[in-house]
Symmetry: D3
Subunit: 234 residues, 6 copies
Amino acid sequence: MRITRGFQKHPAGSVLIEFGDTKVLCAASVTEGVPRWRKGSGLGWLTAEYAMLPSATNTRSDRESVKGRISGRTHEISRLIGRSLRACIDLRALGENTIAIDCDVLQADGGTRTAAITGAYVALADAVTWLGAQGKLLDPKPLSGKVAAVSVGVVDGRVRLDLPYEEDSRAEVDANVVATDAGTLIEVQGTGEGATFSRATLDVMLDMAMAGIAQLVALQTEALAAPYPGELPG
Amino acid sequence: MRITRGFQKHPAGSVLIEFGDTKVLCAASVTEGVPRWRKGSGLGWLTAEYAMLPSATNTRSDRESVKGRISGRTHEISRLIGRSLRACIDLRALGENTIAIDCDVLQADGGTRTAAITGAYVALADAVTWLGAQGKLLDPKPLSGKVAAVSVGVVDGRVRLDLPYEEDSRAEVDANVVATDAGTLIEVQGTGEGATFSRATLDVMLDMAMAGIAQLVALQTEALAAPYPGELPG
Amino acid sequence: MRITRGFQKHPAGSVLIEFGDTKVLCAASVTEGVPRWRKGSGLGWLTAEYAMLPSATNTRSDRESVKGRISGRTHEISRLIGRSLRACIDLRALGENTIAIDCDVLQADGGTRTAAITGAYVALADAVTWLGAQGKLLDPKPLSGKVAAVSVGVVDGRVRLDLPYEEDSRAEVDANVVATDAGTLIEVQGTGEGATFSRATLDVMLDMAMAGIAQLVALQTEALAAPYPGELPG
Amino acid sequence: MRITRGFQKHPAGSVLIEFGDTKVLCAASVTEGVPRWRKGSGLGWLTAEYAMLPSATNTRSDRESVKGRISGRTHEISRLIGRSLRACIDLRALGENTIAIDCDVLQADGGTRTAAITGAYVALADAVTWLGAQGKLLDPKPLSGKVAAVSVGVVDGRVRLDLPYEEDSRAEVDANVVATDAGTLIEVQGTGEGATFSRATLDVMLDMAMAGIAQLVALQTEALAAPYPGELPG
Amino acid sequence: MRITRGFQKHPAGSVLIEFGDTKVLCAASVTEGVPRWRKGSGLGWLTAEYAMLPSATNTRSDRESVKGRISGRTHEISRLIGRSLRACIDLRALGENTIAIDCDVLQADGGTRTAAITGAYVALADAVTWLGAQGKLLDPKPLSGKVAAVSVGVVDGRVRLDLPYEEDSRAEVDANVVATDAGTLIEVQGTGEGATFSRATLDVMLDMAMAGIAQLVALQTEALAAPYPGELPG
Amino acid sequence: MRITRGFQKHPAGSVLIEFGDTKVLCAASVTEGVPRWRKGSGLGWLTAEYAMLPSATNTRSDRESVKGRISGRTHEISRLIGRSLRACIDLRALGENTIAIDCDVLQADGGTRTAAITGAYVALADAVTWLGAQGKLLDPKPLSGKVAAVSVGVVDGRVRLDLPYEEDSRAEVDANVVATDAGTLIEVQGTGEGATFSRATLDVMLDMAMAGIAQLVALQTEALAAPYPGELPG
């Protein structure tokens, strides 16, 4: 796994995360104002959008902007990323401003949503640092912890971490787990793909997921310890 | 909880499920043919759509057909219902035909998606019986087991089953669990709503969910034991 | 014909109307504000939306929210319901508030639009009573009369009232008539379906329609004479 | 009223109809094939689309193609025109081909839908002649009669034919009547605009409408008696 | 080429331009306000929309409002017309008001976009005169010059002006040139259609285009020298 | 300027082109079949889509898939890229297959469309090589020459090549030129941005553009001379 900070120059945080052959570009942009339903609350907001380049997949996929609508899968993952990151940030600190997370998959080989969450956290951390440097935070430390995510699957009856696409597509059970550096859970999604699974299998999957997340958090910590590469956005 | 079979006369299966103040109309319609990507496979398909009447909610909600697009939430729940029911049916038995599940919420007071799955299973069972009576099944018993679903939440630090809307909207943790009559899992979705949760809490939630599902399965069994009310669709 | 008031608990008026095998759920919800073009006028508004559940028809119909657009037929009927009910209410009494009428067909067997109007009037009357009880009416009696509707058709050369679907689909002439309890007309729509018709036939159709409407008004009056079932919405 | 045939060179029939300050361009184009639901029937089809140029109205109206959706009013009128013309043509004569009627309002001053029907009939007659000349008709005389339409309104308590926009917009009752040269009805649509009306008023309106339609039919006959202006489309 | 001013009565300027068999109706409507991104600037705006009637082309084309989206070609031409006319007007003179240009092709036979620009300039000039007469201009002469456009093509190796559709569709190179009465360029678009072209060819095309534009400007001047036909819009 | 081939592993050609601070990912994917209107012709097709990541721009831009429609600008550039590349390839060589070009802007700082064309040519060349290696070309050398593009602008009265965004946004005249390695033109688009320009200025712009394109072609040649980095797609 590799995390490259400062991949783009415009957003307040921009991270390229590579995970096997999966590459996701995660950006955190600060925009003024909040959605209408939140106006006047004094609170900020964090929203996320996930998308895949047509050329990212094994067979070229249609462009959702051309089709004129977003698929259910895209909707679902965008919402998952948003929920996961909102669990670690105190939105009061932003005032009525929004952090927009964009996760664009440049190359897909399984685990794109969990890579997106893990990379997006680092971009978010950089955006928060930038906001602090601009004097725009009402609370100097709005992040309550780190957030990372892994996928776990059962293939041929064995539990495995972070399946590449070829194995993922024939997994009997598939789970995505989002957790914090404190080891608490944010989201657990386990699905039998045409099969069912026992509580015991779920427990093994969760054990393996938590161990994987601990490793990812270590990599996030290491990546964020380095100085910001290049100049900070204006 | 109350299950009324044969609520509508046209679909092969039609169930009104009432769960506290939540009322969901679940229909299973048999249509010829399968989606394009499945043509020529010889396999059938099962698909599901979930929707809410504008008048079902406390405050009237906008009609998605008028807005011209389906929300992420609607997409997500429709996909969940479809996945859950596909886990209990052998689609080879249908030949190249489709069962379309429609879950329309007539009144909402929490737990609409889990009520929808629980009711839709009964409608599906009736549709399968109807298909058998029509001599249209390649395998006489395509259902491998019953499927039911519950929601579990943590409110004010206590784990609770099937929260009504007022409590659900302030739950700290929210989980939906889909399982079979054999006690195996089909889907587990647990989400911290602005909070995180421990493995221990997840375990308590799952225990309570499995107990709730056992009760629902008993009710499904009882409902399906009665003769079909009224005449079967043509 | 059967009228069940208070079918849903959230809207200010909610009526299930059953007419042969046709079942329409009619809700009248009160929402704050008026459409943009009416702002500042001091006047209220009444709008209506009609829809059919996919499972309501003999053969499952596609969901308009999924198709992303509303059919011409849906548009036309929604507009007809709105016009018909606006003819009997003094919108000045509402202040700048809107009554949204939702007519959702749960089961279709001919005459869904006329059943919808007849049921929606009762839901509207309940919503007006509720508004009065809340002290939100500028005029205590904004309804100038009752409104009901019937369809009339010519099948095999004979004029018939309220055709079921099987006969309606082979009618040579089809008319929908909306009228008041005072016997005056609100809307007359007569259409030759691949045939033409004489003034004399139109007269017979209108006679029969007016007689049918008088019966419906009697049923509305009876239904509204009973006390409201269950508790009124908050 | 003025009817100009052959206004455009490409369609098989093209008529500019002027009615007071209302100007509608009506074209009848022949296209191969029929809609999917009609394939294999051996029958032809006739469809109609109505639209208004943004610059046709007193205040510029938004372009429906830019808004990305067609209004309910546009839908309704398109369907009315199609139904009206299908009442006078034997679609078996076309084989599996379609006549597409396009009515585009170049300038609007009341009565656009009835002018459209009246003009479209003439364009249709020219298209049928053209089809005959091309040897493409299975029956040499597929038109069973002429079709024309008028609007009638009640303004300040008086029944009036073909109201210009200024009067139409304050009419208490508004009716559109489509009829044949034989004096039989195809469509009657009478609407109280915030008012109701008696059977007696409806009768006066219908009398006046039928007289107006007789005059229009005479003008159509006269226009069609002249030779086709310019060369026929290829 | 023929220019008919005052073709419609509602817009401030309305011109029918005929160019061979191409007929384009160009309207300039004045509307209050400016797009959101321009509010508060004190500046006016000019926008343009281009469309083709379905019946305008050799084979009937689908209606973009029915398809629910505008084609790339329509977008491109609309933007070109807007840019071209904005090059000749000082938008400060309008205050925060918008001139909306609508170019609707009634009949197409090549060169519709250049005819549209040439006709739209005349409609714009009339709209500006009307604005002046209404006392609504902050600067009495906001137009800095006339604007006209031609197309030039290379067919069978020869450079030709204003190709009709049949020749245009087999042109090897196609260019559209927009220029002013002072002989300066506003827009040059030259495209090899499956072929490439030399600088020398481009020069010949530009020479021919500039000569054609000079002729068009003379015709515009002549058309505008006549008094406005009929009464000015209210 | 930097060209990185083989940036993605799935498409037959994948190039990251960097041009100042502009970064565009250009992919060429081979898909079976051709658009409907081309079926049965025996000819292949080449199509192109251009898009910008929301995080690519100085201020985050809205995602077109979420808005549900593509802007006019996106449409225009996609069409330009497709036309430009079709000018250099003999589509007969592909049989009835399509090459889909995707140009996704990862970071924008002026000149994204010309960078896209220049990079896409290299991706196309790699895809053609791959097709040849797979034995799927009917003609071994379908590319007739190299294609590159530059933008030229007039800023503060001086003609300049490849303006960065800050200068581009205040250019008085802006031109995009697409040409071949043989020095012939494919596309010339020159636009006065609120200003007009003389033939003499156009000539200076074209001189400078042709010189720039010669340099780009040299870089393309150099990039393509190197062996393909990494393994070729399956």
